[in-house]
């Protein structure tokens, strides 16, 4: 059982390493979106500081959404998705490997880049650790939940827009708790409530998303 999981993870990491465009685009998108706000709203640090958590979180969410479309699409196009479906290993576990590989390639870099952008947005330094923790748990949940939408729309040509429409309502709770945890941290309030709830959302997604993704994949390859 474990063998297939790690092999698939290794294969996807190797593929991502060879095909840089897939994971560079969301990162560049994340940086550009965040830098747009000071240009659009003005350099006033006080104002930027107030909107920083929201901007960082919405940008991270949109970057994850952008990267999700490619999650199953390359496998679907060259037919290896069918091999995934026909493997004796449980599909939910294999799907977990795919989502983890996708997160390592897009979610993690977002995470590592966010402190830099937090400084750009004048965010209080005390809030940066909470930003990292909330983004860590948040992007994992977003990848899991988003993968359901990706699996549902993988068979469609113009699936991108539909994917956004399907998963955005499901992203909202993560966004609410995520950005409010950073806001609370910025103004020195306790953040454990938000982070616990984020953790709860993550565990829920970890348990419920893979079977839904597996079922959606079986339908999309019909």
């Amino acid at each position: 059982m474990g063998g297939a999981f790690w092999a698939l993870l290794k294969r996807d990491m190797l593929l991502a390493f060879r095909r840089r465009a897939d994971w560079l685009n969301p990162l560049v998108f994340f940086v550009i979106v965040v830098t747009l706000f000071p240009l659009g709203i003005g350099p006033d640090p006080g104002l930027l500081r107030d909107i920083a958590p929201g901007v960082l979180w919405v940008a991270a969410l949109l970057a994850t959404l952008l990267a999700l479309d490619g999650l199953f699409r390359s496998d679907f196009d060259d037919g290896s998705l069918e091999q995934l479906l026909l493997s004796p290993q449980p599909l939910s576990v294999l799907v977990l490997a795919k989502v983890l590989a996708h997160w390592l390639v897009t979610g993690l870099p977002l995470l590592l880049l966010s402190p830099l952008l937090a400084v750009v947005m004048q965010l209080q330094v005390v809030a940066i650790p909470v930003l990292l923790v909330s983004l860590l748990v948040g992007t994992l949940t977003l990848s899991l939940v988003g993968a359901i939408g990706a699996a549902l729309t993988v068979g469609l040509q113009r699936g991108g827009v539909l994917l956004a429409l399907l998963v955005l309502p499901l992203f909202i709770p993560v966004l609410i708790f995520g950005s409010s945890s950073v806001i609370a941290a910025a103004s020195g309030f306790a953040v454990d409530a938000q982070l616990y709830l984020l953790g709860a959302l993550f565990l829920l997604a970890l348990v419920l998303a893979p079977p839904a993704i597996a079922a959606a994949l079986r339908i999309s390859t019909e």
Binding site: L152, T153, L166, P169, P173, S180, E222
Partner: protein, 247 residues
């Protein structure tokens, strides 16, 4: 052979049942709605706090209630369809989605009309209205997904999965929006709640709610019958009915 026959028999019997219940619900709905509107507008006393504007609840609350009820029906039918392959359940979910979206839109519109005198703005980020807005996105997503997959069998199953994922998320969304609302909104303004309901105000509200529900069922049954007619046009029971002009 059994499965095919079971499917056929199911839709024929369902058709006959819907033929009877449909008009019955229609009549009941019409009576309840006219009575409800009459009592709500003319008989129910003025609310001391909100004056006459509270009467909007007689359309807002039922449509908000229906928007949730219809989604629950869709989710339940989706589960029946996915687990027991009941094609009828999928037809019910398919025809209910547009109506659910219409009720959600209605709830949003009447909600903002009711909120205007109270808060002075057309759109108030109140927890209930925000959840309603997100529910509208769920409906649109459901209908968009079903429309974008051409093979009807997979479109139905994909939409069913989305409906189930959606129904799991509705309480989460509602709770997080409530939480978000209390966090950012000082609780001083009057909660967007129905005022303390005097019995004479409550009766029309229940009538309207029931009226809406019957209205939904009669339309859903009629649309389901139309879908069945189209899909089983080649079957004998449809041909016989066509000949005897009992469609």
């Amino acid at each position: 052979m059994f499965q095919w026959f079971h499917r056929l028999a199911a839709s024929k019997n369902f058709y006959r049942l819907a033929e009877i219940l449909g008009p019955l619900f229609g009549v009941l709905g019409a009576i309840l709605l006219t009575l409800g509107v009459y009592r709500g507008l003319f008989v129910a006393p003025t609310d001391y706090e909100q004056g006459e504007s509270y009467r909007i609840i007689y359309v807002h609350v039922p449509s908000a209630w229906m928007s949730m009820f219809v989604y629950m029906v869709m989710a339940f039918c989706s589960a029946l369809f996915l687990i027991w392959k009941m094609k009828l359940a999928d037809i019910i979910a398919e025809v209910s989605a547009p109506m659910g979206a219409a009720f959600t839109f209605l709830a949003l519109a009447t909600g903002s009309l009711w909120g205007k005198p109270m808060w002075g703005t057309w759109w108030e980020w109140d927890a209930r209205l925000t959840s309603e807005l997100i529910l509208l996105f769920l409906y649109i997503g459901y209908m968009a997904l079903r429309a974008s997959i051409d093979n009807r069998g997979s479109a139905a199953r994909a939409a069913a999965i989305l409906a189930l994922v959606g129904v799991v998320n509705i309480p989460i969304i509602h709770y997080s929006v409530e939480w978000w609302n209390t966090l950012h909104q000082p609780a001083s303004i009057t909660k967007f709640d129905t005022p303390s309901i005097h019995i004479s105000m409550l009766v029309p509200l229940l009538m309207m709610a029931l009226g809406f529900t019957f209205f939904y069922f009669t339309n859903m049954l009629s649309r389901a019958r139309s879908v069945i007619l189209e899909r089983e046009a080649n079957n004998n029971w449809v041909k016989d009915r066509f000949r005897e002009n009992r469609l």
